[in-house]
Symmetry: C2
Amino acid sequence: MAEGKTTASARQPAGPRRADAQRNIDKILTAGLKLYSSRPGVSVAEVAQAAGVGRVTLYGHFPSRTELAKALMTRAFEETEAAWASVETDGPADEALDRLLREQWYLMERNRNLRDNVVGDLSPQWLRQRHDPILRRVEELISRGREDGAFRADLPLSWMVTALYSLVHAAADEISEGRLTADEAPGVLSASLQSMYRP
Amino acid sequence: MAEGKTTASARQPAGPRRADAQRNIDKILTAGLKLYSSRPGVSVAEVAQAAGVGRVTLYGHFPSRTELAKALMTRAFEETEAAWASVETDGPADEALDRLLREQWYLMERNRNLRDNVVGDLSPQWLRQRHDPILRRVEELISRGREDGAFRADLPLSWMVTALYSLVHAAADEISEGRLTADEAPGVLSASLQSMYRP
DNA sequence: CTTAACTCGAACATTAATGTACGAGTTACA
DNA sequence: TGTAACTCGTACATTAATGTTCGAGTTAAG
């Protein structure tokens, strides 16, 4: 996080930000990520309040709701990218999938919700271009499993990826409805997908 | 978000509506169902326009956005109830499930979307009380399959129901993204679920 | 210490949605 | 055919969100 991937805004002198400004940007992104990935219809004012920052201050850093959304997506991408590095994805595809699900299913879920809740603020082009990077990695993993026989190949690859995300989302729903515990979720998820993917 | 605003109700004499009124109510519900189940954030004005009816006319029949949402859910329930009657659900559970998916997956999908898109307008109590009736029927079907050994019993029943709806939703997404055709969908869906449900 | 960067509340303009009120015209139906 | 029910455009009140402007105070950093 050394690099300041700043959202190019017209108002700022484009120079390096002062320490307190950077701190506030951080608080805004953190609070925004939490809010946006938890429910739809979040307002800019809510994000500012949750970040403990004035609304005007927020607008000082993110000129519009859209720019804020872009920054949130960008940060989520970065975090996901970093997290992926901690998962061992070599070895048999089915085992790698199991590890991935157990260690990162909540991150996948957060990203999916975030995406759902900013899809009205961002153009489809923008979203498609910065397509959730882990989604592509998941695709590669499944593809590898199909080639070496660990996974079935009679279903479309894209469908298998979509189904995975869909079930991750479903698991999160079950948890929030109290019909599943956070402990059980990874196991249920993994068991369901392994059965579905098996040739 | 609390309700409690007593809108000027009792505009209706509660008697039988005139033929043209009933016709408009119908147009409104039909258009509303289509809109609400296709995307979020639908406005009352949009529904009125899509129905080819004045906005004021709509308010004459449905005093508030909330009442409109209730009416839409109610109609969807009725249609679902009627459609269920046309599916043969006796016999082996796995075969019945296959028939159900092939004949009614789009209706399940519509209801799911509708539910998602009115979930901010109706109280959780109301929604829970008029719980999608076919969802319970699906639950019964799966439950029967578990008892006679057609389906696995090592996963929570509620999870199996949720997963089904989740995948139906995913299939619809795939179609709208152009990665799956409407012809392929039922087969893919059925194959995925049968694998996942098999003991 | 000095200053430029930053914060932040209050106020304002704009846009969009909801719901109400009025009144003139149209349509069903006894 | 008479009339109550119905339609519908216009206009208005209200609420909420977005984004900007102003100015006075605070803080980081050279």
